[in-house]
């Protein structure tokens, strides 16, 4: 029988060549580390041992069998794709099940998906990384990638704001970064007891005050949306063009591959066009009521 209208429409030869985008792969929990009371970092390897390359800022859709699946940013080192790290906060059933996972447990994972930080945009210039709360998790791969290629960049800043000293992530690694001479680290908390010898206040109060050439500076900002907006606006007020600032947005996601419709922000699919966006593209959409 000759080609039907349908088969002419599609250049694809065989459906069997098309993968099922919604089919997950099994991964095994190698290690878990409790970061704070409600947050844990899981280190996963694929059951079949295959490495999973990813770009900093990408996410996977992951879950415990029978407990749904949720989008979680990859928080580990992109130079080591055999181990996928995810830092998960327990905010619902699926994420709580992930935080409670034990070494040896099997998780089901799809991805990596999304547009990442693309730190190469900052090569040759300064990079200012501003993280709020769990926003440090999606930024850690970017920082690790920058540090792995340190000579390509000029000055590198990490600004990290958390609610309280005991709610900070990656504390050992933070101390290590603070000890380095080639990265300037400023940490602040919303409030603290006197044992805290550091800054108290919003991340905007500890942004680098050095004279940084705005044309040669890239800012990567991640955290709750209010924090990202305020930080990006403060950077713009200080002279950084909005297209030199990138933010990572979060929306409801059921598929992560642009078919369920849930993550739409006007014409943008946060899972396909993001989650990392240049601030000039999304600033107006971020302030829109109930968009």
């Amino acid at each position: 029988m000759s080609e039907t209208a349908a088969s002419m429409r599609f250049a694809i030869e065989l459906e069997s060549e098309l993968g099922e985008p919604m089919l997950p792969r099994p991964f095994v929990v190698q290690q878990t580390k409790r970061e704070t009371a409600d947050t844990a970092t899981l280190s996963l390897t694929a059951l079949d041992g295959a490495p999973t390359s990813f770009a900093p800022g990408q996410f996977t859709v992951v879950g415990r069998p029978g407990w749904g699946e949720v989008p979680i940013s990859i928080s580990g080192d992109p130079a080591h794709p055999d181990h996928l790290e995810h830092t998960v906060r327990a905010v619902g059933d699926a994420s709580r099940a992930l935080v409670g996972a034990r070494p040896g447990d099997t998780l089901l994972l799809r991805g990596p998906y999304g547009v990442g930080w693309d730190v190469a945009d900052g090569v040759g210039g300064n990079v200012v990384i501003v993280a709020g709360g769990i926003g440090l998790a999606p930024l850690r791969p970017a920082l690790l990638q920058i540090l792995a290629h340190r000579p390509r960049y000029r000055r590198v800043f990490l600004v990290y704001g958390a609610r309280a000293p005991h709610e900070m992530l990656f504390t050992r690694q933070l101390e290590h970064w603070r000890g380095r001479f080639d990265i300037e680290v400023a940490v602040t908390v919303d409030a603290a007891t006197p044992e805290w010898r550091g800054h108290v206040g919003l991340v905007t109060s500890v942004l680098p005050r050095a004279d940084l050439d705005p044309d040669e500076t890239l800012a990567l900002v991640c955290g709750p949306e209010i924090m990202m907006r305020i930080t990006a606006d403060a950077l713009v007020t200080n002279g950084l063009p909005p297209d030199h600032i990138k933010v990572s947005l979060e929306r409801s996601m059921k598929c992560g591959v642009g078919v369920c419709g849930h993550c739409q922000l006007r014409e943008l699919f946060v899972c396909l066009d993001g989650p990392v966006f240049r601030y000039d593209r999304v600033a107006g959409l971020m302030t829109a009521r109930e968009l």
């Binding site: 209208a5 002419m8 598929c255 739409q264 968009l291």
Partner: protein, 370 residues
């Protein structure tokens, strides 16, 4: 080619002989519903439909026509994109296994231009992007389409505004135009593809005369002239984006029940959600089900839904359909079938609402004068 009523049965028989399940319009529970058929007796002969905002009922057309109505309730969407589909199952091996793809050969009989346009719109959503739905592609490849020229648009139709018209120009294997006049009840058949030509060649028919072709054109012309509603699509995307805080959204929200009927009957809406399926022994797999942006939980992230109000959810649906869709897929999401107008329980007419949203809202002083 022209054949008569007997020829229509012969067409159905030929398609069945070639292994297709023939799916066509039938009358069921007071509505036109697509179902598997074997005989022309299964078709809605002499049936017409009365459609108004919030109203639908079948009537006797008074004419001896099989396709004398406009749009049925469901469209052809559930055939290519089923409301519920298993995605994968857990097996005894550790890795989940994808559910088999549907490869049932189906011949759709009576697809109107608006619904053909809708299939094209959905092709771009499911089969022309970074991630492709393999089940949609499989179903689509095993689908044979017999389109019909629409002779009786309803009062709610506006296909001519959305880049279509009563007569489809492409995307079908066979196109039938039904004519019931003094010269007899007959079908002018056009093949759109080699497959369609093969089927038509197997039927007893005669070549179409000039009178036949004129009569067929007349059906389409009269139908186009009968379309009552319009949408001005020129610059509509930018106007809708600019109307984000227009007070008309509140007005619509005061009527909208956020029942989601519009998204169910719309032939292009594609949103889904997923559920884990379990039995007593443990997790079984995951299924995909239709979802609607009108459901409050649709935009839920920790702390609550982003679109809490009915106003925000209605705005999302309409803006997506007529504006964002263009940026996402290169065409409008609407084909002008009018189903959302008919099946809205409170009769919201999107053609009217789009016109109101396209005008500047009254200023404060104008409001005072009112």
């Amino acid at each position: 080619m022209v054949f008569d009523v007997v020829g229509l049965q012969a067409l159905i028989d030929e398609l069945i002989r070639r292994g297709y399940a023939v799916v066509g319009p039938t009358v069921r529970e007071g509505g036109i519903v697509a179902a598997e058929i074997r005989s022309i007796d299964d078709l809605p002969r002499g049936v017409a439909d009365h459609q108004q905002p919030g109203e639908y009922r079948l009537t006797e057309s008074g004419a001896d026509e099989f396709f004398g109505f406009a749009s049925g309730a469901t469209s052809w969407k559930p055939v290519l994109f089923p409301p519920r589909r298993m995605l994968w199952r857990h097996t005894s091996a550790a890795a989940p296994v994808a559910a088999p793809l549907d490869e049932t050969p189906r011949a759709l009989l009576g697809v109107r231009a608006c619904d053909l346009h809708a299939i094209d719109v959905q092709d771009r959503v499911f089969a022309d992007r970074a991630f492709i739905d393999p089940d949609y592609v499989s179903r689509r490849r095993h689908t044979f389409i017999v389109a019909v020229t629409c002779g009786h648009p309803s009062d709610d139709c506006f296909c001519t505004s959305m880049g279509g018209g009563p007569k489809p120009s492409a995307g079908f294997d066979i196109l039938l135009t039904e004519i019931a006049d003094d010269l007899g009840h007959r079908f002018v058949a056009e093949a759109g593809t080699a497959a369609g030509a093969e089927v038509v060649a197997a039927l007893a028919s005669r070549p179409a005369s000039d009178d036949d072709r004129a009569a067929a054109d007349d059906v389409a012309d009269r139908a186009a002239a009968a379309i009552k509603r319009t949408v001005d699509t020129e610059g509509l995307r930018d106007r809708l984006y600019a109307a984000r805080e227009h007070p008309q959204w509140d007005d619509i929200a005061s009527r909208c029940l956020s029942c989601g009927n519009c998204t169910l009957v719309c032939p292009t809406c594609f949103c889904i959600t997923t559920n884990d399926i379990e039995d007593l022994a443990g997790p079984v797999g995951r299924e995909r089900v239709w979802d609607s942006c009108f459901v409050v939980e649709y935009s839920y992230i920790h702390g609550g839904p982003i679109r809490r109000s009915t106003q925000a959810r209605y705005r999302q649906w309409l803006t997506h359909k007529f504006a964002s869709w263009i940026d996402q897929f290169g065409t409008s999401g609407c084909v002008g079938c009018g189903r959302c107008v008919t099946w809205c329980p409170v009769g919201i007419d999107i053609t009217e609402e789009l016109a109101r949203l396209s005008t500047a809202p009254p200023t404060a002083s104008e409001k005072e004068e009112q």
